[in-house]
Amino acid sequence: MLEIENIIFPESLGDALATVETDPGAVVLGGCGYLRLGSRKIATAVDLSKLGLDTITETEHSYEIGAMVSLRTLETDSCINVFASGALVRAVENIVGIQLRTCVTLGGSVAGRYPFSDPITALLAIDAQLVFQGAGRISLQDYLTGKGLRDILVKIILPKDERVAAFTSMRKSTTDYAVLNCAVARVGTDFRVVVGSRPSRAIRVEAAEKHLAANGLTRETAEQAGLLAAENLSFGDNPRGSGEYRRKICPVLVKRALIEVLDAA
């Protein structure tokens, strides 16, 4: 059971960061959807819900998604439904139900670096950048491979470009956690191939991306990229599936997603 001794509502991002930096017992709250499932005892919960981080802003070069934007807001946003072929919407629309998606936030999913996350997999294929109050701007990829930050995630930036993308996953039931998820994108002649919920964190597959960049996207190279992903990634066991099973389905998901991109052209 989650226990919270004290909850504070900072009036500025600076105040929120100061609390996190000076109070070792401080935990930043997202939507609490996952946090509440544990039996954690939190001395000071830092709530960002009064800092205006719940909006999506379109600029000339990007979409800026506030850290407290809910997954349901993302799912129903007309621009995000079109951007990158709607891959980010595909990644969130089957997470439990609309009521949970109204509670949980994109910032909570990203900051928590949850290995089962669907949106993180899509965001990697979109080359998302993160803005932290202390550390400033950092790529999602660097954040996932780093040691983590004791900081305040302010927003997630999606660079606007002519990217064609796709997200797909294998689930035991529609709204369950993914057994394995996959997102791909084509940006000009470059490609992104990302596999997550392995069950470890989402990761780009360099060998598959290079193969596609060198040979172009066809049904044959899509299949080969899937095989390269399965060969080059590590997979593990958890209650939703074995590593062996994940390795078997990985090429299928990668190929399916790439063919979706191919057919969208």
Binding site: L2, E3, I4, E5, N6, I7, L29, G31, C32, G33, R36, L37, I42, A45, D47, S49, R72, E93, N94, V96, G97, I98, Q99, L100, T102, C103, V104, T174, T175
Partner: protein, 149 residues
């Protein structure tokens, strides 16, 4: 802790512990239509509207409710009764434990979905579980209630 919020159109002052979730607070204040089923944010039984949007009260901290508008089925008795007649006509109502949260989602769906289809209804309802039924009766009732062609 203490805060002022609006429940079913009435301004209410709530006393609560820092880590308390809204479903627990609402039940403590007598809104017993709000059920707690799974305690994992999966079943939708605790659905209330927060500023008009269906939300899991079991996953919403009461401390965040300052200045918000909470709606439970107690405020929607007339509409809920109308929908209940469709459920009864299709033989869909069984133990009834999931019914308040289910009805809150359906009534929100009626407001939000402009041209509902069986697919969009299914998607909207994915977060509401019923342990008694096979969902067929509920779907027939909703399709008729919403006038889906």
């Amino acid at each position: 802790m203490q805060l002022e919020t609006t429940i079913n159109g009435n301004t209410v002052t709530l006393d609560f512990a820092a880590g308390e979730f809204l479903s627990e607070t609402l039940r403590r204040y007598g809104y017993l239509s709000v059920k707690e089923g799974c305690d994992t944010g999966s079943c939708g039984l605790c659905t209330v509207w927060l500023d008009g949007k269906p939300t899991l009260s079991c996953s919403t901290l009461t401390a965040r409710m300052q200045g918000h508008e909470i709606t439970t089925i107690e405020a929607l008795a007339g509409e809920a009764e109308e929908f209940a007649r469709f459920l009864v006509a299709e033989g869909a109502e069984q133990c009834g434990f999931c019914a308040p949260g289910f009805a809150m989602t359906v009534l929100a769906m009626k407001r939000e979905l402009k041209e509902p289809t069986v697919t969009s209804i299914n998607h909207y309802l994915a977060g509401n579980l019923c342990r008694c039924s096979g969902y067929k009766g509920q779907m027939r009732a909703i399709v008729k209630y919403l006038g889906v062609k």
